[in-house]
């Protein structure tokens, strides 16, 4: 059985997929129960393609999930993957009969809904047209035609009347664009929703918007904004309101990790730990709370150890997977910087013990951080020390002042020279307008210096 798995993961690797070796801590069944809708398949399939440990289980669950729905494309995809990874499983064979039946019924349904919509359009009843579009959109989404679904939902816009309807359209569109991973489009739809005033169930909607917004920011690697969005989610709002995109556990993990990656200690205390609403989310993921507390208390290596324990889990998350190395890197860098703040110099060995691992010595990481400008320090490899650069505002001010004066002088002279050239009417007058580059080459006055730099150097 190991052999087909090898081949399967080699293929995944070749397609640029991410492979996760370790065994995650979560239970697949319990995990997937938190979600509803199409995201269930997406998540299962992602785990099936990434996790070596859960591959077969996840793919089997994905096949079952696909078969419960009407999306033939997904079913094929899942079975195809399973067939490669574990050819002996009963689910690994195509259920051709099911495919035929589902395809036919899908076709008929599409046809029926399209015809109905045409009828509504002829009757010019706005409400019916809106509902017709909605039904068609939902159907197209369920069979996997996300483009068509997006179009249909968009066509609902002219016919919506009540705020509730606007919200529904918005949610449909956000869901579709999230599935298509079009982050900026998601943001645009969310902004439209945000502008609508809803009297009663404001919090429900706010939370939905904040969660979706957070995911969209995360997709664009705008970590700080994403963290702020997640932190504004209200824990009293039932998870059923947003579980077609994320679970409350996800909110806790995303919010906590991103806050760790982007905020300083005071903000973490104030906005994460003291945030009554977000606290409830954190109770679902106590280790995230632990990590944040450890960071705030200055126990940086413990903080890193805590989140490292869960790396495998998060690598199997549909939204975190691509960004996790960056987020973890940011958290690490922040820990190292915070660690160094109270000291003027630290022994390399101490840092190695706190942050380094045997396969990744701390020195290399420090070098990268200094080069990237995130850390202002110097390494002394001879005495094994890291010296933190002490800022010298006076020197900086003096340098800047002298530089400004120099620049002023240089610019003044340059302007005078330009005026001199203009006054003598000596500007370079180009060739005819629109002359191509090759023209330029040939028509510009040629100048060959008789003696080149080479000779005078020798």
């Amino acid at each position: 059985m190991a052999d087909p798995m090898m081949i399967y993961f080699t293929a995944v690797d070749n397609h640029g997929g991410i492979i996760v070796q370790g065994t995650p801590k979560f239970d697949l069944d319990l995990y997937i129960q938190n979600y509803k809708g199409r995201t269930r398949f997406d998540r299962l399939f992602l785990i099936g393609r990434s996790s070596v440990a859960l591959c077969v289980d996840a793919l089997k669950a994905a096949v079952a999930e696909a078969k419960r729905g009407r999306d033939v494309g997904r079913y094929r995809e899942a079975v195809e993957s399973l067939r490669l990874a574990a050819p002996n499983e009963p689910e690994a064979t195509f259920d051709q009969a099911w495919i035929d039946v589902t395809e036919t019924s899908n076709r008929n349904e599409t046809h029926r809904l399209t015809t109905e919509l045409k009828g509504y359009k002829n009757n010019l009843v706005k409400e019916s047209i809106r509902m017709g579009n909605e039904d068609l959109g939902k159907h197209l989404e369920s069979i996997g035609d996300l483009n068509g679904a997006g179009d249909s939902f968009n066509k609902m816009r002219p016919d919506v009347i009540t705020p509730k309807q606007i919200m529904d359209v918005g949610k449909h569109l956000v869901r579709v664009s999230l599935q298509r991973r079009e982050w900026s489009l998601t943001m645009a739809h969310l902004n439209k929703m945000g502008g609508v005033q809803l009297p009663d169930d404001d919090h429900t909607l706010q939370t939905y918007i904040k969660v979706a917004q957070g995911i969209a920011f995360l997709g664009q690697e705008r970590f700080q904004e994403a963290a702020m969005s997640f932190l504004q989610a209200d824990s009293e709002v039932g998870s059923s309101n947003y579980n077609e995109i994320a679970s409350p556990n996800d909110v806790a993990v995303y919010g906590g990790l991103l806050a760790l990656a982007s905020m300083d200690r005071d903000s973490l205390q104030e906005k994460v730990l003291d945030n009554a609403s977000f606290r409830t989310f954190l109770e679902r993921e106590p280790h995230i709370r632990r990590a944040v507390t450890q960071f705030v208390n200055g126990r940086y290596s413990a903080c890193i150890a805590t989140i490292e324990e869960y790396r495998t889990d998060y690598m199997l998350d549909i939204y975190l997977q691509r960004h996790l190395p960056k987020i973890y890197g940011a958290i690490r860098s922040k820990c190292i910087i915070q660690y160094l703040i109270p000291f003027s110099r630290v022994k390399l060995d101490t840092m190695q013990a706190a942050f380094g691992t045997s396969e990744k010595p701390i020195e290399g990481e420090l070098v990268d951080m200094i080069k990237a400008g995130t850390l202002d320090a110097r390494i002394n490899t001879i005495d094994g020390l890291v010296t933190v650069a002490t800022p010298n505002p006076r020197l900086k001010m003096q340098r800047e002042a002298l530089e400004t004066a120099q620049n002023y002088e240089k610019q003044a002279i340059d302007r005078l020279r330009r005026m001199g050239i203009a006054a003598a009417d000596l500007e370079y007058k180009g060739q005819r307008r629109g002359g191509s580059v090759s023209n330029l080459m040939n028509s510009g006055p040629s100048f060959q210096t008789e003696l080149s730099f080479d000779e005078s150097m020798g």
């Binding site: 390494i379 002394n380 001879i382 002042a401 120099q406 500007e427 370079y428 007058k429 307008r433 080479d454």
Partner: protein, 486 residues
């Protein structure tokens, strides 16, 4: 001959002339008389000239002396030692105020020297440079003599002799004549008012001359390894103001060199100043591609890329552009900059580690021994490129290493004030130049036309008062486009 002498010596001494106007009148009459004298005596003149030179003093009677010299300095006489001595004495001592009236004769003499057959080249360069600076001590105007002179100096490898000249900041260019009301003899005149095609001290120059001059100045500084000045000179060509779209080949050539010099100077890719015209920027992007690739490879961590960028195009390509030597130099400096950048990260680092982390772009591989690394670093320290020391501790366990020293010592308040004051003074010194530029622009045709139009509007259109501020603004913009366009 006595008659000749009396005419030549007729120019009164400065103390006898009351003011600039008198001087102006006297000088003009004197020039006419000397011209007439030469014409009347025709072929005989050179015969007397030899003896007359003994009587005429080059300092007090510069105009006369010059006329005599010009009559003699011709191919058959060229080699005579006494004559040459006289020419050099004249060029080193002449009265610049008088010579303003004998511009074309002076230019003629300079051109003969610049042609190079009169003196040995090194002497010719030195004499001409000194003479030009005596004429215009501020050195702020580019004359038609600059380019031939610097070309001669560069080609004959006598750059040192022109350094004083090319170090000057040039802000004026001879061109459209000024309506100057003060007489030529006025010593307060800015150089742009007397170094004119009308006075004969310079000929008209064209755009190509200006571009060539700055490129050549850049190359002179490059040959002297004065990268900062070379960079600035080349930048003047790169950002040369253009009208409409278009870009001279000289500008592209300067841009190529400018990129490489920028690498040597700062170890990073130079950015085009905001004053570069947009269209020109685009042309550079296309025409300087090979050089831009070199730049990109230079700032990478591996020398391999730089080496292959250089080798794919081959020696032939680079030497065709006249940049082979420069680019070789860039390659040899790659490792130096790698080491220099280490000071941003390390305060002390072992030679061994430097050897393994940096590579030579000439071979694409690390240096083979620590001794070589040590020699390279010692060289950098000696040249003043690197602020640091190499230490070889005697105790065990500590390898030979480099200590990077930082110049974080801040200046004392007094020192700082002194530096700021110097800067302020330099800016203040621009005052006369600004005044001259202002006068020059105020008398430019475009501006006058604009003023006249404005005045007409004032007289005629009282009723359209409301439209004025707007139109004024538009006109103003129109006038300045050529100057301010970046």
């Amino acid at each position: 001959m006595d008659h000749c002498a009396s005419v030549l010596l007729a120019f009164p001494h400065t103390s006898e002339l009351a003011d600039n106007e008198d001087y102006d009148k006297a000088a003009r009459i004197h020039v006419q008389k000397v011209d007439k004298l030469i014409k009347e005596n025709g072929g005989n003149f050179p015969i007397f000239a030899e003896q007359l030179l003994d009587i005429v003093n080059p300092v007090d009677h510069s105009i006369s002396y010059l006329a005599l010299l010009l009559a003699l300095v011709k191919p058959p006489n060229a080699g005579q030692a006494t004559l040459l001595q006289r020419v050099s004495r004249f060029l080193l001592t002449f009265d610049a105020r008088q010579i303003r009236y004998a511009g074309s004769a002076f230019s003629e003499l300079l051109s003969r020297i610049e042609e190079g057959w009169l003196f040995p080249q090194s002497v010719a360069v030195e004499l001409s440079a000194t003479a030009l600076l005596r004429l215009d001590p501020t050195g702020t105007i580019l004359t038609s003599h600059h380019l031939p002179l610097v070309t001669l100096a560069y080609n004959s490898n006598n750059i040192d002799a022109v350094l004083a000249l090319i170090e000057k900041t040039i802000v004026f260019y001879p061109g459209i004549n000024l309506t100057e009301s003060r007489p030529l003899s006025d010593l307060r005149l800015p150089p742009v008012a007397y170094m004119t095609p009308e006075s004969g001290l310079t000929a008209r120059i064209n755009t190509t001359t200006v571009l060539k001059y700055d490129l050549l100045v850049g190359m002179c500084f490059m040959a002297k390894r004065r990268w900062q000045e070379a960079f600035e000179a080349l930048e003047r060509v790169v950002t040369y103001p253009t009208k409409e779209t278009g870009c001279s080949k000289i500008m592209v050539e300067a841009h190529n060199k400018w990129l490489l010099v920028g690498l040597l100077l700062n170890g990073k890719i130079p950015t085009l100043p905001s004053t570069t015209a947009q269209g020109v920027k685009k042309s550079y992007e296309t025409l300087s591609k090979p050089y831009l690739s070199i730049c990109e490879a230079f700032v990478k961590d591996s020398a391999e890329g730089l080496k292959s960028e250089f080798e794919t195009l081959g020696n032939q390509f680079w030497s065709q552009d006249g940049n082979l030597g420069l680019i070789r130099f860039v390659l040899s400096h790659y490792q130096r900059w790698q080491i220099l950048n280490l000071r941003e990260v390390y305060s002390k680092i072992s030679l061994e580690q430097i050897r393994t982390t940096t590579q030579s772009a000439e071979t694409g591989a690390p240096l083979s021994s620590d001794a070589e690394v040590e020699a390279l670093i010692q060289g950098m320290i000696d040249e003043g490129m690197l602020n640091g020391v190499i230490e070889k501790p005697l105790e065990d366990g500590k390898p030979a290493h480099v200590v990077f020293l930082t110049s974080t010592e801040d200046l004392s308040e007094a020192e700082f004030a002194k530096k700021m004051l110097q800067s302020a003074r330099r800016i203040k010194d621009l005052g006369p130049i600004i005044k001259a530029t202002n006068e020059r622009l105020a008398t430019s045709q475009d501006y006058l036309r604009y003023i006249i139009r404005e005045q007409k509007k004032e007289q005629g259109g009282g009723g359209r008062g409301a439209a004025h501020p707007y139109e004024l603004q538009v006109e103003d913009e129109d006038l300045m486009t050529g100057i301010m366009r970046s």
